[in-house]
Symmetry: C2
DNA sequence: CTGAAAGCGCTTACAG
DNA sequence: CTGAAAGCGCTTACAG
C-alpha cells in the first residue's frame, strides 16, 4: 500500500494542507517546515496520487495524438517532433493509432481521450463537419498537423506550392510528358495533402501551357509496391511519360523499382521527383520535396502547449515552406 | 461544464448508485430503470469522469511503454505490435521515448508512470539492479521485450542462435574470413542483444575451428552511416574479410554502400548477412536474420494484459525463433 | 432491485 | 505561516 498525504502529514506533525503546499511549491511555507516535510516525503518515497490530483484540478497532464499508420516514416518523424516537445513539458503522450476506417470512426465518434487528456493533436487526418462539431462541443484544445480544421490551429506545409515546385523543376529540365502518382484519395482515410498536390501539379502544367492528361494522373495507394505497379502501368502507355512526380518518397522508390525492372535508368530515361525527403531518399539519390517533418511535429506541439500553459487560444494557421532537393533522379547531365 | 453522475441521477429520479450500476454493467438493475438511465446518459452526452473512477478503483486503464529511439524501424515495428494489442484491450498507451542517457536515467530514476499507468512495457533497454529493485518495490506489473530482467516476464529472440545461424551460413558458403560489426555496447544505452550476437558469432567460428580475430570484430554504432564507415575500415585491413555479418540491417545497408563506393559487388566480392529483416532488406536483396518484430510486440503486450486482466503474475520467459532469409548478398552462384 | 452514506486522496478557499 | 473542512465525482459495501 502506497503512502498518502495523511501519512506524510502525521509524521511531520502538520496538517495535510501544508504538505499539499509543499507539493505544489506554494511560497507560504516556513523553510524549516518545508525542509522537514520534504525529508519525510523522501524517506517514505511518497508520491502524490495522480488520480486524486486530476480529480480536484481537472487536469490530466496528458496529451493525446491521433495519427494514422504508425509505421510510416512520415508520421513517425512528425511524432518524434511531437514527443520531444511534449516530454520536455512534463506532459505525457498517449497515442491513438489509426490503421482502419473503423478505428478512425471509433476514435472520432467516441472521443476516448475526453476526460483523460488536456489536449489533442491530430495528425494528417481530416475531420468531417459532424466530427468537428463534436470535438468543438467537447471543449478540448486541439491542434492539427498536416491537415487543418476551421476554428483550430494548424501546422501545414504548402502542398500546392510544393507540387508546383516539383513540376516546374521537371519542366525546366525539358520534360513535357509528366505523370503524377497520387496517394489514396479516400474521403475519410485519404489525406487532404494529396488533393493539394494534385492541384499544384495541374497549376504548374497550365502555367506552361502543357496539357493535363487524364491518363497521366494515377490515384495510387501509399507504399512502395503500389508505386512500382502504378509506374509499370504508366510505362506501358502508348505514349509513356518521360517524368514522374509522386506524392511520396515511398511511391517514388517504387517507381525506381519499376524502371530498374524495365532496364531503364532513373534520371536518364525517366526523371522522378518524390515528396517527403525520407532518409533513404538521399542514399537512393532521389530528387524530392523536403518537408520539415520533425519541425512540423514540434511546432504543432508547441502550439498546443501555448494554449494549455499560457491560455493562448487564438487559432493560428502556420504554413512551413518546403524545399526542392535536387538529386540524381533529375540529373541534368544524363 | 460537463455533466456529472448527479445530473443523470436527478433527471432519472434515481440515486447515483443506480446510475453507477448501469455504468458498470451491474446485473442488479431493473431493465426499465436501466433503459431510462441509458436514455438520459445518451441525451445529455454524459461521460463518467475518469479521474474520479481512477481514484476509487485505483486503476488507470493505461499502459506505459518505454522504448529507445522512436524513429528506428525495429522499435517502431515492435511498438506497432504493442499498440495493436493494447488498443484493442481498451487500455491507452503512453509512450516514453529514450534518446539520451539523461532521459533514460530520468525515466528509470523517477518512474514517472507510477500511479498513472497500470502496467509497463520496457523495450530493448536493460535495467541495472538498483533500477530493477526500485521498479520491483513500486509493485508495477512489467514485461520486457527484446531484453529481460529477473522476476519479470520477457519476450526475446535467441540472439546467440540467430548469430550462429548467420555465421554458419557464411561458413557453408565457403567463407573463413568473417567479420562482425556490432551495435553499440554502451553499458546503459547499449542493448544486450549485441553481446549475445557477438557470442553466437564466436561460437559458430569456434565450432568450425576458425580463428576469432580481434581485428574482425568492430563495435560500431547503430545506423547506416556508421555501418559504411566501419566496413571501409575492414576493407582497408591488410587481410580484409570476405564476409561481413552485422548486428542490424541498417548497418548492413551501410556495408553495401561501402562496397559500392569501392566498386565491389555485394554477394560476389564480399558476402553480407544483416539482422532484422526490415522491409528494405527485401528490395536490396540482403540476406538477413528475420526477427518477428511485430509479433514480439504483440506477445509482450498480451503477457502484460494476462497479468492485468487475469491476474496471471507468474513470470514467463518466451523465446521466439529467428529465421535466416537468403538473398542476393550471399548468393551462391556469384 | 434501490438509495443514503462513506470514502478514495488530493486542493483550495476560509479563518486564524 | 498553518489547519480544519469542504468538495472534486465517482464506487461500493450496507441496509432495506
Amino acid at each position: 500500500m502506497a503512502y498518502t498525504i495523511k501519512d506524510v502529514a502525521r509524521r511531520a506533525g502538520v496538517g495535510i494542507a501544508t504538505v499539499s503546499r509543499v507539493l505544489n511549491d506554494s511560497p507560504n511555507v516556513l523553510p524549516a517546515t518545508r525542509a522537514r516535510i520534504l525529508a519525510i516525503i523522501d524517506e517514505l518515497g511518497y508520491r502524490p496520487n495522480q488520480a486524486a490530483r486530476q480529480l480536484v484540478t481537472a487536469r490530466s497532464h496528458a496529451i493525446a495524438v491521433v495519427l494514422p499508420f504508425l509505421t510510416r516514416p512520415f508520421f513517425i518523424e512528425v511524432l518524434r517532433g511531437i514527443e520531444a516537445v511534449i516530454a520536455q513539458s512534463g506532459y505525457q503522450l498517449i497515442i491513438f493509432n489509426v490503421e482502419t476506417i473503423e478505428q478512425r470512426e471509433h476514435y472520432f465518434g467516441t472521443l476516448p481521450f475526453l476526460g483523460r487528456t488536456d489536449g489533442l493533436i491530430i495528425l494528417s487526418l481530416p475531420l468531417g463537419s459532424i466530427e468537428l462539431q463534436r470535438l468543438h462541443d467537447a471543449e478540448m484544445p486541439a491542434v492539427f498537423i498536416d491537415t487543418s480544421a476551421p476554428g483550430y490551429s494548424s501546422v501545414e506545409v504548402d502542398n500546392v506550392a510544393g507540387a508546383q515546385l516539383a513540376v516546374e523543376h521537371l519542366i525546366q529540365r525539358g520534360h513535357t510528358r509528366i505523370a503524377y502518382i497520387s496517394g489514396p484519395l479516400h474521403p475519410t482515410l485519404g489525406f487532404p495533402v494529396n488533393r493539394d498536390r494534385k492541384q499544384g501539379y495541374e497549376l504548374a502544367l497550365l502555367a506552361h501551357q502543357l496539357p493535363v492528361r487524364a491518363e497521366y494522373i494515377r490515384p495510387g495507394g501509399d507504399g512502395r509496391a503500389i508505386g512500382c505497379a502504378t509506374a509499370l502501368e504508366l510505362l506501358d502507355l502508348p505514349e509513356p511519360p518521360t517524368a514522374i512526380f509522386t506524392a511520396s518518397d515511398e511511391q517514388a522508390f517504387g517507381v525506381i523499382d519499376a524502371l530498374t525492372m524495365r532496364g531503364l535508368v532513373p534520371g536518364k530515361d525517366v526523371a522522378i521527383v518524390g515528396y517527403d525527403d525520407l532518409e533513404l531518399a538521399r542514399y537512393i539519390g532521389l530528387t524530392t520535396i523536403r518537408q520539415p517533418m520533425e519541425q512540423m511535429g514540434r511546432e504543432g506541439a508547441e502550439r498546443l502547449l501555448d494554449n494549455l500553459l499560457n491560455g493562448n487560444i487564438e487559432p493560428t494557421i502556420q504554413v512551413i515552406p518546403v524545399t526542392l532537393i535536387e538529386r540524381a533522379t533529375t540529373s541534368p547531365a544524363s
